[in-house]
């Protein structure tokens, strides 16, 4: 079994290396075959391991090799295979496999085809190393490695200014999170003397009362500070307020990675990490409150921003931010299993929504503005149905997967009594309406109503929608474009022209995407509908996670929910009569009225509340502030330090100044070197007199 553990990450790595280093040799078909094979192997192996863990209870915790030792600290690379890990492994490998297949269709004309496959397989490897880790060091490895691949993929179309701005921004904002994360790891290492999960978690209760004094005179709980530092890492990776700013911009990357990295897997790493660290977080009420409040702010306020977006991918991106906020709220309410449960259901339906959005984008010839769409259900039936299912899951329709997870979060917050839970409850309940509204606003604008692209005069001014220009030049991989042709003869849709112009002409008809695109949609739609119904019992109330998640006895939200739980059917039926359901329904109805029947109402709202609208359009001003304060501020400071510190003071006064002093001294001394004998004689006499005087005085 242990060699199987190793196979899970290494198979995608092998695929990535093949496609990345030998992409020219193996060609397009070779690249996607190798990488899909690698991920498929990882998925199958994960299934076998999952069965072994769940059915036979064979968990594993062991080192692979010693990375380095120093002092008393042993740093290792190793695996921890428990129910939490296998669930993540299944989600990651399954979604990754779907995205790999989908990419064959989505990227078929891109000159960077092999490179793309190499990156997404490398990502899968990194993410698997992250979730399978048994220690903080390897967690951080995976953590930064997924960040690297995210950087590479957001900037995949590296000639687009918006893309290379977005990837740098994403990397730097994540580094801010990692800054906190590394300090958190440092505190753990300093006080626990180990980076191994099991050792640290076992020792955690003993250190619950430990205090440290960071500011002289003020004692703080060690675990609170350590947990908040670790959580800052999660805020970066999982895009929590105020480190959320990178995620909307990451939509510059190709759509498959938006689904894989920026919806289903990488951004949930923070949620996974906090769940993994539950034995630490449970010991600090303060840290949990921070988690709860940050999550609540993200859940509600990022949802609002989804309402005003017109780029199809950005709507989904803000929805992701908001849902990540929901998961974080669950963490803060000590309902870790609920957070991870929502992580799983969300991975399926959000990957589905992103991939469906990508399918729409292909159908629209790379126009991403939903104001130009409408009525697509006639032309893209599979995309339409799967999108509808995904949206219903997202808004929490009873019996759909999202219902079980989201309703459980709301319940958990209702049962939580830590500081901030009142606000969090308000946020997640209001968020239900907001989610339903923006989701169905997009759904109606895209799939129903008038076929607005026929009206001509595309809604202008959305630079991101236009920026979808594929790199058309040869970047070294693209040379095989012609040699290998399209590997997929089933690809009915011809997108050959989409590099040249964007959007549909008034007389064009959009058409459904090829099967490599629609198959993943269907395969993702199935779990989006049923996975919650099937798994809520064991995952939340059946002790599925076992020892992987620890909950303090004083936090009994989940225990109380367990008493009220009488099976998934009863829960769904009960859900029909609760506030969240009616809020969601009204959100859908309002969206239908606004965007199908009476488009004048939202227009009037926009005019009436122009100020509010502008705040939302400006995303509360975070981007402007960060650009002004951090980016420009750092550059200004750097320039000042350089010009004034290095150049004026150190070089100007100290270095050149002392050189100048020596020069002036020499010039002055030179006056003595006149060449006239009397000068020397006179100097000699003075010298002799001086020496004599010295001698006599002694």
């Amino acid at each position: 079994m242990q060699s199987l553990y190793l196979l899970v990450p290494l198979a995608p790595l092998a695929g990535a290396l093949l496609a990345g280093l030998f992409g020219k040799t193996i060609g397009r078909a070779g690249a996607h075959t190798a990488t899909i094979l690698g991920v498929a192997v990882a998925f199958i192996a994960s299934c076998v391991i999952a069965q072994d863990v769940i059915v036979h209870g064979n968990t594993f915790n062991g080192a692979l090799y010693t990375w380095a030792t120093s002092g008393n600290l042993k740093m290792e690379v190793g695996f921890l295979i428990d129910p939490l890990t296998v669930m993540m492994m299944l989600v990651v490998t399954f979604v990754s496999l779907m995205v790999h297949i989908y990419t064959i269709g989505y990227m078929q004309d891109d000159p960077g085809y092999q490179r793309f496959f190499s990156y997404i397989s490398l990502f899968t490897f990194s993410m698997l190393m992250l979730v399978m880790s048994n220690n903080f060091l390897q967690l951080f490895f995976g953590w930064e490695a997924v960040g690297l691949v995210s950087y590479l993929l957001i900037g995949f179309w590296y000639t687009r200014p918006t893309a290379i701005y977005a990837n740098l921004k994403a990397f730097l904002v994540n580094r801010v999170g990692d800054f906190g994360f590394v300090l958190g790891i440092g505190l753990v290492a300093a006080y626990f003397g180990s980076l191994d999960y099991a050792t640290v978690f076992a020792a955690a209760p003993g250190l619950a009362g430990e205090t440290v004094s960071l500011i002289p005179g003020i004692e703080g709980s060690l675990l609170t500070i350590a947990c908040i530092c670790l959580f800052i890492g999660a805020m970066g990776k999982s895009a929590q307020f105020p480190l959320h700013v990178w995620l909307p911009d990451s939509m510059e990357g190709p759509t498959p990675i938006s689904a894989l990295i920026h919806a289903a897997t990488m951004v949930t790493a923070g949620i996974f990490m906090v769940s993994r660290m539950s034995p630490l977080f449970e010991l600090s009420e303060t840290a949990l409150s921070v988690v709860l409040v940050i999550g609540a702010i993200t859940a509600l306020f990022m949802g609002f921003l989804g309402i005003v977006q017109n780029d199809i991918k950005r709507v989904v991106a803000y929805s992701t931010l908001s849902q990540l906020g929901y998961m974080t709220v669950a963490l803060g309410a000590s309902a870790y299993s609920v957070a991870v449960f929502h992580l799983m259901t969300h991975a399926f339906f959000k990957a589905l929504l992103f991939l469906a959005a990508g399918s729409v984008i292909m159908g629209m010839h790379h126009d991403q503005d939903i104001r130009n769409m409408g009525g697509l259900r006639k032309y893209m039936p599979i995309t339409w149905i799967t999108s509808l299912l995904g949206s219903l899951a997202l808004i929490g329709t009873p019996f759909f997967s999202g219902f079980y997870s989201k309703d459980s979060i709301i319940e958990a917050v209702a049962e939580s009594h830590i500081a901030g839970s009142g606000f969090a409850y308000f946020a997640v309940v209001v968020g239900v309406f907001v989610t339903a509204f923006y989701s169905f606003r997009m759904y109606f604008l895209v799939f129903h109503g008038k076929e607005r692209w026929r009206e001509g005069g595309h809604a202008a001014g959305h630079g991101h929608a236009l920026a979808a220009a594929h790199v058309s030049h040869d970047d070294g991989h693209g040379a095989h474009k012609d040699a290998h042709g399209h590997d997929d003869s089933h690809a009915a849709a011809k997108h050959d022209d989409h590099a040249h112009h964007h959007g549909l002409g008034p007389h064009d008809n959009p058409h459904e995407s090829p099967w490599v695109v629609t198959l993943p949609l269907v395969l993702l739609a199935i779990p989006s509908v049923v996975i919650g119904y099937l798994t809520i019992g064991p995952m939340l109330y059946g002790g599925f996670f076992g020892d992987a998640i620890f909950i303090a006895e004083t936090h009994h939200a989940l225990a109380e929910m367990a008493e009220a739980f009488h099976g998934p059917v009863a829960m769904a039926l009960h859900g029909l009569g609760t506030l969240p359901f009616w809020l969601a329904l009204s959100g859908v109805v309002v969206a239908a009225v606004f965007y199908l029947k009476r488009p004048d109402i939202p227009a009037a709202f926009k005019a009436r509340f122009a100020g509010l609208h502008r705040i939302l359009e400006n995303k509360y001003g975070f981007d402007d502030f960060n650009q002004w304060f951090f980016a420009n501020g750092a550059r200004m400071l750097g320039a000042q330090l350089w010009q004034r510190g290095d150049r004026a003071v150190i070089d100007g006064i100290l270095v050149n100044g002392s050189a100048g002093l020596v020069g002036r001294l020499a010039a002055w001394v030179r006056h003595g070197q006149t060449g006239f004998v009397y000068t020397y004689a006179f100097t000699m006499i003075i010298g002799v007199v001086a020496l004599l005087g010295l001698w006599l005085s002694l």
Binding site: L168, L183, D475
Partner: protein
């Protein structure tokens, strides 16, 4: 003391020097390829003789190994005494290894006075090995000073337009500290009743005042070499004017000599002063990390940017040393080795661009990836290593120092960890402006991707960077016992 059959350290020092002299003798500008091949053979032989140092190294002892001991100047009891421990051995190997790259990097680029150029590097390589291998203080001092001469010549002769200013600045800066060091050594000679053996000084009881004065004298020499803030301003000028090979050796090796001096002289000879003044060194180191990081951000010249980033990275080294934890000291040494690979590679990358475009201004570039995809991929790896990405060597040392710093003082770690943000910001922002984007101008349009020679150099360094990032244990194993011994020594008061 462990002795060996072959005088390996003597070979490590003199093989490159003899080859250097031979290159000087045979080389004519009319037939530069003779000089090139001879220099390459010299560099490879120089590296080959250091391999047994690695393979035959005993990691269980802190004593000097491969010891050679002969009388040199009997009147002053000065000895030709060589030996390496777990701290110095890696640098002898690293230095000999990097010399190969200097020779290869110069292959097509240096076309005037080829033999003198290559000879200067080979001779310098031998002298630097002497610095790391010397167990006698005067022998150390002679090598320490002698290595300045070839470097001075390299910058002054093959450098850029402002080379004379840079060479003088370099020379004067470093000379100032050196003179004080000599005074300190002579004082120690009398104080120890006639010994120049460094090991004797380690045992020598000294008063706190004596220690502080000696510490400050050494500090002047070593701080300039590292370089530490505020005596760092020679480095960016020297780098900008130096040819690629000069920058590689300057960054990869020469800076390490200063940091090595702290470990061999300052800490063990003046342990109480080291503790007394550690606050000062830590403050200077953290200023280097943060202040220099910000300065690096606004550089318009790629070489200056990497030069400033070197100073910031070396700040981690001195920070690690003066926290006196095994984790931080080893982290500092690992950082030194890693920085050898990474900064060497960064300067080679910039050299690759400079050879084609004859500009180091970031503003003259843009969209290089469109023409040089292989180069862009390798450059990205080194840029990421420079930004301390895990699984590259650049991560290991920084991580160890930060982790160890938390144990000592959370705020030290806090300031040091800012490098995660700053390092990524200045490196990747430069990378973005140079590599990504549309083709900026017709010069970029005409760029050719790296040839086999350049690829071989960068790929080899890439392997080093990755292997050391994925499995640094072999490197840390080598130094454990020596570092433990050193720290044990530093913890014992001499008062």
């Amino acid at each position: 003391m462990v002795t060996s059959q072959l005088p390996l350290l003597t070979l490590a020092i003199w093989v490159p020097i003899v080859f250097g002299l031979a290159v000087l003798a045979v080389g004519r500008d009319a037939a530069p390829s003779n000089a090139r091949w001879l220099a390459l053979i010299g560099a490879l032989s120089g590296f080959a003789v250091t391999i047994p140092l690695m393979t035959g190294f005993d990691t269980t002892t802190a004593a000097l190994q491969f010891v050679e001991d002969r009388t040199w100047i009997p009147a002053f009891n000065i000895r030709y005494q060589l030996g390496v421990d777990g701290i110095s051995m890696p640098f002898v190997v690293l230095n000999s290894f990097m010399t190969i790259f200097v020779v290869v990097a110069a292959w097509r680029v240096i076309t005037s006075r080829v033999s003198q150029y290559l000879a200067a590097f080979l001779i310098m390589s031998g002298l630097i090995n002497g610095v790391f291998a010397a167990a006698d203080a005067i022998l150390f001092y002679v090598f320490f000073e002698a290595m300045l001469i070839p470097m001075y010549v390299i910058i002054g002769v093959w450098g850029g337009p402002n080379r004379v200013y840079a060479a003088f600045k370099f020379f004067l800066y470093t000379l100032l500290g050196s003179l004080l060091t000599l005074v300190a050594l002579i004082y120690l000679f009398y104080r120890s009743e006639g010994s120049f053996q460094i090991a004797d000084y380690h045992m020598l009881p000294l008063t706190l005042n004596e220690q502080i004065l000696i510490f400050l004298a050494f500090l002047m020499a070593f701080a300039v070499k590292v370089p530490m803030w505020p005596v760092h301003t020679w480095l960016p000028d020297a780098h900008v004017e130096a040819p690629t090979g000069g920058s590689v050796i300057l960054a990869a090796i020469t800076l390490k000599v200063g940091a090595y001096g702290f470990l061999r002289f300052s800490l063990p000879i003046a342990p109480d002063a080291s503790h007394e003044l550690s606050g000062l060194i830590i403050a200077l180191s953290l200023i280097a990390v943060v202040y220099i990081g910000l300065v690096a951000l606004v550089q318009a010249d790629m070489k200056k940017l990497v030069a400033y980033s070197s100073i910031a990275h070396m700040g981690f080294v001195t920070l690690g040393f003066f926290l006196f934890e095994p984790l931080t000291v080893e982290g500092g040494i690992v950082q030194m080795i890693s920085h050898g690979f990474v900064s060497g590679a960064m300067f080679i990358c910039i050299g690759v661009l400079y050879d084609r475009m004859h500009s180091r201004q970031i503003a003259d570039y843009g969209g290089v990836v469109n023409r040089m995809p292989t180069f862009a991929a390798l450059f990205l790896l080194f840029a990421m290593a420079n930004a301390g990405l895990p699984a590259t060597s650049g991560f290991v040392g920084e991580f160890m120092v930060i982790l160890g710093a938390v144990q000592v003082n959370f705020w030290y770690a806090f300031a040091a960890a800012l490098t995660l943000i700053l390092g990524a910001a200045y490196t990747l922002w430069m990378y973005k402006r140079v590599i990504f984007g549309d083709i900026a101008n017709h010069h970029v349009e005409e760029l050719q991707d790296i040839d086999r020679r350049e690829f071989a150099m960068l790929a080899t360094l890439a392997v080093c960077v990755l292997v050391m990032g994925i499995w640094p244990a072999p490197v840390t194993e080598v130094m454990h016992v020596s570092v433990d011994n050193l720290l044990h020594h530093v913890a014992q008061s001499k008062l």
